[in-house]
Amino acid sequence: MWKKIFDWLDERLGLNDIYKNLLDRPEPRGNWWNTLGSASLFLFVLQGLTGIFLTVYYTPSPDHAYDSIQYIMEGVAFGWLIRGIHHWGASLMVIVVFIHMLRVFVTASYKYPRELTWLIGVGLLLATIGMGFTGYLLPWNQRAYWATTVGTQIAGSVPFIGEFILKALRGGPDLSALTLQRFFSGHIWMIPAILAALIGVHLFLIIKHGESHFPTRED
């Protein structure tokens, strides 16, 4: 019976092909350092899930953002857990992505034929930091408000176009409801979309070229 169902699905989905091409791949002997990429992916998914749950209660307006998070922490069942995981997950994701990049640098895995994988990877690192920067403002507390004030000021120090960047980030000369709204939009739609797309390409390239092996004296 199960066999029949499997065969029917396999005929239409090509399950066996997927198994052969995706899972039953040969790989060089790896070690624990090789798990950092998948750990980053896991954290991305986890941040996505907890983030989606948070949007159920979070309100991106200066009048209600702080109180809505207060409510998530105190009023919602297991809200503290979801928020806690999202909060700490952000820090851990930056650490894991950064160490992953260092590992690739140290073993020189960015060299032929994996140059593009590295390039995409730098994009992923920057997008992750962008997630951290936009997400930091959302609680609308003192830390968030003043860190973003300074952060956008720094972005505004670019010669010639600094003024424009500053206004584009803040939605005006000062931090306001507009700033919160666009950081929220960036945090839940724009940057995650970029991240997801880049992760797709990154994974495709990894499957195409396989994981690199640890260099020996031969290399």
């Binding site: 928020r83 806690g84 700490w88 820090s91 060299k111 032929y112 930091y136 408000y145 120090s157």
Partner: protein
């Protein structure tokens, strides 16, 4: 890179694959363990560490010291140290745009810049030493940025200089030497020197950087720690915080139950008619945000001063919000108040109250509204233990250990102190001027003074006298 090298690389990889493992289940297994471990760590962090509470954003509070997310701290420190450099330190965009831009650019173009096909560590000494120095500097700058602020200008200057040496100049020197070495290495040096010298320089420089950072941290250990701001997070805590603030800032005019309609005993506002703020007229028609504005901006024409920091008052956003919560949950019949814990733990027979556990909350709620700097109070301040015992025009008589005729005990029990020279005039009226203390608070104050005003709970516990059992 020519096709021959590419072919060699690919053949080499084939060989590694043949003596390797399978993605499923070998690699996936390890991936799953690590992911599960990360999840466990996150759940533990969320459960046992949680998210540090922080007051609500207050654009008016410009005294707040901005701090970025921890992984930007190194950049923050770098900018601060860079700003100290004469002349180019004033050209901000060099440090905010050019150097980070250069770093990201180098990182992005790395595979195109590093054309050597070799991968083994022994053939990548320049890349590894260079990156190693940068990473170490990032870590050390992060450490420096998280140290407390130096207490005075001299120490600040000294600390900044040390930090600039350890976090800016030594790494810059190492990187410059490495680049020069890389650029000129080919002809000048012997093979062995070429390999060992950059490593030696990097290790020596790194040790110097680490030593500097340790020294700076050791100096910083004696700096005063920044004050931790307590933030009320639960509804109960917020209501209690709001009530304490109300007692300090609002009680004088509005009374402790908000029912005052004609102000009495406040200089300059005597006889002023006001709307009782505990009335449904006020509570049902004024929204939280309108109430916020009233408290923040005041009603200058009606004699109410501004309380919000934005208008020169003392209260932050969160504090005003807490006052509003207190008002709602106490007087507004549409709100159902949670159970509010007692002001101080009840006293057993023979127990002696202490300042820190019992007296401080009572004083905070009932006395310091007037008995603090800037109010009319015969210079009797009550904001700290020392002030309560040692300030005021009648400091010898206000509180006398074991004396039931201490002025304070008389006035809180309804006996005003008469002026010895004009026996018809009150020198000190009954306290609090309106209303009276609850019996348990009164009892606590009497016991406290009769037993010698212990400050800490420990001191008070020593004075505990077990009640004699009734025969």
């Amino acid at each position: 890179m020519n096709d021959e090298i590419k072919k060699k690389i690919n053949e080499r990889y084939e060989r590694e694959l043949n003596r390797g493992e399978r993605f499923w289940p070998d690699s996936i297994f390890k991936d799953l363990i690590v992911s599960l471990g990360i999840f466990a760590i996150l759940v533990l962090l969320a459960t046992f560490v949680g998210v540090a509470p922080e007051p609500k954003a207050d654009p008016a509070d410009t005294s707040y010291l901005p701090r970025p997310e921890w992984y930007f701290l190194f950049l923050f420190k770098f900018l601060a140290l860079y700003g100290q450099i004469p002349v180019i330190g004033k050209i901000e965009w060099l440090a905010t745009v050019l150097i980070p831009g250069l770093g990201i650019g180098l990182l992005t173009l790395l595979p195109l810049l590093d054309k050597s096909p070799y991968r083994h560590y022994s053939r990548r000494i320049f890349a590894l030493t260079f990156m190693g120095t940068v990473i170490l500097d990032i870590v050390l700058l992060t450490v420096m940025a998280s140290l407390p602020v130096p207490p005075d200008a001299a120490e600040l200057a000294a600390s900044t200089t040390l930090q600039a040496i350890g976090g800016l100049w030594i790494p810059a020197a190492i990187l410059t030497i490495l680049v020069l070495f890389y650029a000129f290495k080919r002809d000048i040096y012997r093979e062995s020197t070429r390999r060992s010298l950059p490593i030696f320089i990097t290790v020596a420089g790194s040790l110097a950087m680490v030593a500097m950072t340790i020294y700076i941290s050791a100096r910083a250990a004696s700096y005063p720690k920044p004050e931790e701001v307590e933030v009320a997070t639960t509804l109960v805590d917020q209501i209690v915080a709001g009530q304490d603030l109300y007692s300090v800032h609002c009680v004088e005019c509005h009374g402790d139950d908000g029912s005052v309609d004609v102000i009495e005993g406040v200089e300059g506002l005597e006889g002023e008619e006001i709307t009782p703020i505990n009335s449904t007229d006020v509570l049902y028609t004024i929204t939280d945000s309108a109430m916020y504005e009233v408290i923040a901006y005041g009603r200058p024409n009606a004699g109410m001063v501004p309380f919000g920091k934005a208008y020169g008052g003392e209260l932050s956003r969160s504090e005003i919000d807490n006052i509003i919560l207190f008002m709602r949950y106490t007087w507004d019949d549409r709100f159902e108040a949670p159970e509010i814990p007692a002001l101080f733990p009840p006293l057993a027979d023979g127990e002696v109250p202490s300042y820190e556990v019992h007296i401080a909350p009572i004083v905070k709620r009932y006395c310091i509204s007037c008995h603090r700097a800037g109010k009319e109070n015969n210079d009797y301040l009550m904001t700290t233990y020392e002030e309560i015992l040692t300030t005021g025009e009648n400091k010898d008589k206000n509180i006398v250990a074991g004396d039931p005729n201490s002025y304070l005990l008389q006035v809180i029990q309804g006996t005003p102190i008469m002026d010895p020279e004009k026996p018809d005039e009150e020198m000190i009226g009954v306290m609090p001027p309106k209303g009276h203390l609850k019996p348990d608070a009164l009892d606590a104050l009497i016991r406290w003074i009769m037993n010698g005003m212990p400050e800490t709970a420990e001191d008070a516990a020593k004075l505990f006298v077990a009640p004699t059992p009734v025969q």
